[in-house]
């Protein structure tokens, strides 16, 4: 076997690897010598933004990362772990796969799903559902259909084959995502406390196994690719995108859970970004041990791979497993049953080093601790500067006249790309497998029961990035508040969040300011609701040649329902009383309506009252427990008018009209279309009126009766009376029409 001679390591080569001169010096200081070619590659991926969080970790540490019912805090394992009682815990996490999806939508999205699934089952948890959060270019952009089609098929094909229901998510279309779509995937799993596995390597002499797919040249420097801006050259980096094999992942899922069940395992970690390198260095750093591997023992799918390539490969569907010495037969038996590879590729040492040998030749000997986040990886606090646009947009006058034709405006909003039904998308996801989905996609939150217990989980993803752009702090508070409100609408108690922080280039002081402010707002809201951050993912460099994306800190939230009566979003029958719960504020800043009227996105963002939001959640949880509600739907994009319309027809089978009178006074447009946080539209049997009013008094919240359900139209006294049929057709069918045209 012959290999091309390795390039000499120079400062220029280090720079090509994305390492700054100072970082290159740090490496030489850690090693006390010049790194080898392989070592340079290893440092470059481990110190990339994607693996090291070097530009974000200082801010992330300000978030509440314990408390609540957390069993494993953020950053300690592959995903956070939250106790839900009965000896069960929920593991969940969200992760981005933006750059791969931009250049190769189908595989990029598919492998994003695969990666987050592995993060969950590597902890011993069986995935029970997944969600996503997608951002696409504006509808009129030439790439939009291609992206939507590929990304949705990629997510669907992977999750469907794996057999995990995709039950919820969000999708939005905005020009700021032209050239840089966002694909964030979230998975939720359940594990018995005693069956959790850890990502650690301990016990000198214990064997280290590679389990799953063989290793190829795919995805080399994927982590580095994710840590730079997209450009015309990105198209040439298609080979940096991994290729997914969901069938292999299914086998790996079953084998992993079976193996963890044997009790013969010391630690396990999936291979995602930076492949073998990341798993080995993180597991040995956590176990305060070392790992020695032998490249020639790694099953390879391509000939003549170098140590550099094997260490950096991001081939999918692989796990690194440390077994107790003497139990090698156990892993071999499980892998034989499931027809997957497993090879011992090395062993645990007490040297503290990540050592790589290739046919007996030492290629790398790096202190594992120097590679990882929390160890020797660099940490930066970047320059921060408030952008000029912030004050200008915040104080921009919303100086348009009141709405003249509210019916026309409502029709327009009901057909807005960011409001219409996402049925075209979620129909391609198997959202019912598992026989557990009790609230399906399309409402505020989805609800999945935990089989074998009396509990259910409510799940959602949320972020209105328009608000975060206008005011990162208030916008991030609003994102957490909306997620919690959606969870509570179903009747569930919010438990914890995971976050996916999609931002531009952190070296730009204005971007870093957005990041700092958003983290601050998120932390405030999470502390107010006692919903700690269990972990997540940072994705910087979301920029295309045109601009940076809106700062998009997506919140993935999980809530707990202790009964099996989740509350849906839609009205269910005629004759129920319609209520508006929460404090009304007629603030139009940042709303879809105001953007249309002004011709640009502007205005002061309505900052949520976190204390009142907490009481709102308490009200909703208690009302659901007492079976007082027929429906609950939160007010968000499009305001009260759109919320009412959706409640009339967002159930695929039931259409129920409404006769209401608008509360409050003043400008009509603000009362109809303001996206005021902290408000929920309820419907309930008239017999419960007094009980509900008493509950509102108890939780110190306004509760106003708006009217009654029934009829074939949405009638707002003295304002509009629109037949449901036309509105519903627009809302349900617009995305079908945009994606497939006339059928």
């Amino acid at each position: 076997m012959s290999h091309a001679p390795e390039p000499a390591v120079t400062p220029e080569l280090a720079q090509e690897h994305g390492l700054s001169p100072a970082e290159f010096q740090m490496i030489q200081d850690y090693l006390g010598r010049m790194p080898s070619w392989t070592e340079l590659g290893i440092y470059s991926v481990m110190w990339s933004e994607h693996c090291s969080y070097k530009n974000s970790i200082a801010q992330l540490k300000t978030l509440p990362r314990d408390g609540g019912r957390l069993l494993v805090a953020a950053g300690e394992e592959n995903a956070g772990l939250v106790d839900i009682g009965e000896g069960l815990a929920v593991a969940f996490k969200i992760e981005s796969h933006n750059h791969p999806s931009a250049v190769e939508p189908y595989q990029g999205a598919a492998t994003g799903v695969g990666g987050i699934m592995r993060d969950i089952f590597t902890m011993g948890a069986r995935p029970i559902c997944s969600l996503n959060s997608l951002r696409f270019p504006s509808l009129s952009h030439e790439s939009t259909r291609w992206l939507v089609d590929g990304i949705v098929r990629g997510i669907g094909d992977y999750g469907n084959c794996l057999g995990i229901p995709t039950v919820g998510g969000e999708a939005a279309f905005e020009a700021c995502y032209n050239g840089n779509p966002l694909v964030n995937a979230m998975t939720v799993g359940i594990v018995k406390h005693e069956h959790t596995a850890s990502a650690t390597a301990e016990g000198t002499g214990n064997p280290v196994f590679l389990m799953g797919a063989s290793t190829g040249r795919d995805g080399i420097h994927g982590a580095t690719f994710a840590s730079e801006e997209l450009s015309e050259e990105s198209e040439e980096k298609r080979s940096n995108v991994q290729v997914g094999d969901p069938f292999m992942e299914k086998l790996l899922l079953e084998a992993t859970l079976e193996l963890i069940g044997t009790g013969d395992l010391v630690g396990i970690q999936d291979m995602g970004a930076a492949g073998i390198t990341c798993s080995c260095s993180e597991m040995s750093a956590k176990g305060e041990s070392g790992i020695r591997i032998h490249i020639e023992k790694v099953p390879q799918r391509e000939p003549r791979m170098s140590a550099y390539e094997v260490c950096l490969s991001e081939s999918q569907e692989r796990m690194l497993v440390v077994m107790k010495k003497g139990t090698e037969a156990s892993i071999r038996r499980v892998c034989e049953k499931w027809d997957i590879h497993c090879e011992q590729i090395g062993e645990v040492t007490d040297t503290g080093l990540f050592e790589v040998y290739h046919n007996g030749e030492l290629k790398s000997a790096i202190p594992a601790d120097s590679l990882v986040l929390g160890g020797g990886a660099p940490v930066y606090i970047r320059e921060s500067r408030e952008p000029a646009y912030y004050r200008e947009l915040k104080t921009a006058a919303l100086d348009f006249a009141d709405v003249e034709d509210p019916a026309a405006e409502l029709k327009r909003l009901v057909g807005h790309p960011n409001i219409v039904s996402r049925r075209w998308i979620y129909r391609q996801y198997d959202h019912m497998i598992g026989a557990a989905t009790t609230l399906r996609p399309g409402g505020d939150a989805a609800v999945v029961r935990v089989l074998g217990s009396h509990k259910s989980l409510a799940v959602c993803t949320d972020c209105n990035s328009r608000l975060v752009y206008l005011d990162p702090r208030a916008g991030a508070r609003a994102a957490v508040a909306e997620a919690a409100r959606n969870i509570a609408c179903s009747g569930a108690r919010p438990l914890a969040i995971t976050n996916c922080l999609n931002f531009g280039n952190p070296m730009d002081p204005e971007i870093y300011w957005q990041f700092q402010e958003a983290i601050a707002g998120m932390g405030e809201a999470c502390r107010a609701f006692d919903t700690p951050v269990t972990g997540g993912n940072v994705s910087f460099y979301n920029e295309s040649p045109e601009s940076a994306v809106h700062p998009t800190p997506v919140i993935g939230m999980v809530g707990l329902l202790e009964h099996d009566r989740p509350v849906p979003s839609a009205f269910r029958r005629a004759g129920d009383t319609i209520w508006l719960l929460g404090i009304s504020r007629s603030e139009l800043g940042g709303s879809l309506y105001a953007e249309h009227r002004l011709g640009r996105l502007a205005g002061a963002v309505p900052d949520p009252d976190l204390e009142a939001e907490g009481r709102l959640q308490d009200f909703l949880v208690e009302a659901a427990e007492k079976s007082l509600l027929q429906s609950a739907h939160d007010i968000s994009e499009g305001g009260l008018a759109v919320c009412l319309a959706e409640a009339c027809f967002c159930d695929p089978d039931t259409r129920v009209g409404a006769r209401v009178t608008l509360p409050g006074e003043g400008r009509l447009d603000a009362r109809l279309f303001a996206e005021t946080p902290g408000q929920v539209l309820l419907s309930a049997d008239p017999a419960h009126a007094e009980t509900l009013q008493a509950l509102a008094v108890k939780h110190e919240l306004p509760l106003v009766a708006l009217g009654v359900t029934g009829g074939e139209s949405l009638r707002i006294t003295d304002v509009l009376d629109l037949p449901l049929a036309g509105l519903a057709e627009t809302w349900w069918g617009s995305l079908d029409h945009w994606m497939d045209g006339e059928r």
Binding site: N160, G163, D245, R427, Q428, I433, A435, L451, D564
Partner: protein
Amino acid sequence: MKAVVLVFPGSNCDRDTEHVLSRVAGCETRLLWHKEAELGEADLVVVPGGFSYGDYLRTGAIARFSPVMQAVERFAAEGGRVLGICNGFQILCEAGLLPGTLMTNRDLRFLCKDVHLRVEHAESPFTGACREGEVLRMPVAHHGGSFFARPETLTALEENRQVLLRYCDGQGRVTDEANPNGSLNNIAGIRNAAGNVMGLMPHPERNAESALGNAQGLKLFESLLQAAGEALPV
């Protein structure tokens, strides 16, 4: 009733089906790995949904060669009851236990939604608890569920009253609009000529409990219990 649920590499509705059979229908239920050559004691074999072998070849084309399928063929030949759901239906067609084949959906996309089904015949062990003409609601979730058979096979299926379920609208009308995948004659579920093997694309196990909908999927399992001289647990 003793039920066996087969597990192939890539099966993914096995646990759901096992849950409904054991917890809801009250059957003694075993999961059986595809490498097993014997079924053991069984009154019913269920081939569950999923993506056996990833569906990388034709759906069901590899699973039919698993050791357990020979045992299933013997079991069926002796009159044992076999139910194939979704990918299980595809596997039974590939194995020749049911006529016809399932092709890619008409609009070429994976489709997950509730559909309505009209019960065509109620005198089978799979539909005995239903009324003829009754409309049932169940989810479908598949990419390749378009039933196809040669004209003479199709004619024979209809003449022998082997079509048990047809896609229809909420009022029981068999229309092209109600056909989710382009299946010939709106066929959603069929039985073999002997009447002891059934395959269907919809998922009765996903609507067998009131928490998940109207529980009409349970009628299929109830029918099988009745045919075995048993009843649903109270």
